[in-house]
Amino acid sequence: MSAQALTYLFVGLSFTLYIGIAIWSRAESTNDFYVAGKGVNPVANGMATAADWMSASSFISMAGLISFLGKDGAVYLMGWTGGYVLLALLLAPYLRKFGQYTVPDFIGTRYYSKTARLVAVLCLIFISFTYVAGQMRGVGIVFSRFLEVEINIGVIIGMIVVFFYAVLGGMKGITYTQVAQYCVMIFAYLVPAIFISILITGNPIPQLGFGDTLVNSSTYLLDKLDQLSIDLGFNAYTESTKSNIDIFCITAALMFGTAGLPHVIVRFFTVPKVSDARKSAGYALICIAILYTTAPAVAAFSRVNFIESIQEKSYLDSPDWFKNWENIGLIAWKDKNEDGLINYSVGKAFEEGRPDYLDSRGPQGEREIKNPITKNNDNEVYIDQDIMVLANPEIAKLPAWVMALVAAGGLAAALSTAAGLLLVISSSISHDLLKKTFMPKINEKQELFYARCSAAIAIFIAGLFGIYPPGFVAQVVAFAFGLAASTIFPAIFLGIFFKRLNKEGAIFGMLGGLLFTSSYIIFFKFISPELNNPENWLFGISPEGIGFLGMFVNFVIAVFVSALTAKPPIEVEQMVDKIRLP
């Protein structure tokens, strides 16, 4: 069977499975729709949380990012796993004890205020839509490369599948499809990694393989990679280049942001007991760690393979994957020194970021580009980091079914996260905005109907983001984590651990964190991107790490304003006492 037929088969089978599960686990009540009836086994919830959390960017982009960053890539590895320790120790068990449906529910009840609830809804919707946009782009890339359909049709197919299980099944349907998606995703990630590890080092465990020696040689892989990087003018792969303060702040912002992401938090509302919430966070992190410890190995392998398979090869003899991805628009080559060979080295090959292709072909058959050529370096290759994982099996010349598997895995990662996000958006609209604020008289059946409607509308908007991708997606990811770290995390954390905090403190704290973080990011990412360098940053902290400082702004304002205003009512203090006990 051809690679494409195999891909259709794998993707088709996995989609059938997801829809089958959706029909089997339909939601009958709001309790089912919002929190899966609170009956999810902690191991299953751990797997579902892992699928919920690991998005298209974990599956498709992360290893590529690390392979270009080298050691500094650790900010993502540590930042996106360390947050689970915070979640398990500081939030999950108490929120499960609280026992309501959504994150704004907790904030609205704890701070006895509709305003606090609305501020939380606002932050939640902003964070979640930012995130969804990235997932839909992932779906589009996979469809266009592996199934050779228009990106738009790919996005629409993805929307229909998510519609099925999110609208029908709510949290219950999402949970069990996420368990299946986790299995598909992790299998699809490990199989090529193991293959490549064996090919390069002879060691079948990628986590050990990338510290092993190369096949038929006594040189260590990482030493060779350091050497290759230095030869091409890059920094040594295993050395760090960023300042410690910036690494610290980015890692911390990602950790506290992870702990404050509504779609992750809400998964811990679905287990039967408080002790299950703790256990479940542990299982979730194991499931995540399997992929996250494999990713840096994949990064190192693909970097070596990538350099070795193109460097100083003539374009005519270059591998098929190079031309395939060039046709998709994620690789470009400009023969600056006109020797017909591909010369890859440090620096940007041409100005203005992404390649802007002309319709014509160059002397070797390469796609010509409009962008002005940079004169200060010899690099001739533009490569989009996102393709490293997807192209990896091709670069390593693995069998066609492995590529098909990777396509199914990438879709599983994108769809599972999209569904989780769409669910928190729809439940915050039907439950927090309608039932608890503007339409308190609706009965449960009507609320369930509104929940399904808002899920459908949210899917539609997410689909539009996929078809007309806003150019700012990459820039706003920092936003999602920064806002989660500076608004939602502090509000919940202080709500549990600081009884004296009243509604004024919480509201002003959240608004302060929101304002501080967003104005810093907007200034450096949108208003004056030319100033975005360490000399102009506050304390040397990049926009990616500013959420951590925003969290402290929130803390200080919240505590200060609380001290000046009235104590919270006695019922609230009793409620806090209650959630502190198992």
Partner: protein, 85 residues
Amino acid sequence: MTDKEYWKANIRLLIILLSIWFMIWFGFGIILSDFLDEFSIGGFKLGFWFAQQGSIYGFVILIFVYVFAMNRIEKKLKDNKEDKN
């Protein structure tokens, strides 16, 4: 164990575990990383290994230590309540 003692024991455990958590990523993963790079295990420089592998294993272990310790504290609280009844 009373409710108050339970909460105190919980906070004490959190402080200990979060200090270890901080040590793992900030200590070994960032500040001491260059120093640790002078040692190696197999083909890994130790600092590099900690930043890209070891810290993640550390986080997993930390959560399970917490689960185990909290279950014990919780059991004490329960036994005490049953004694009173």
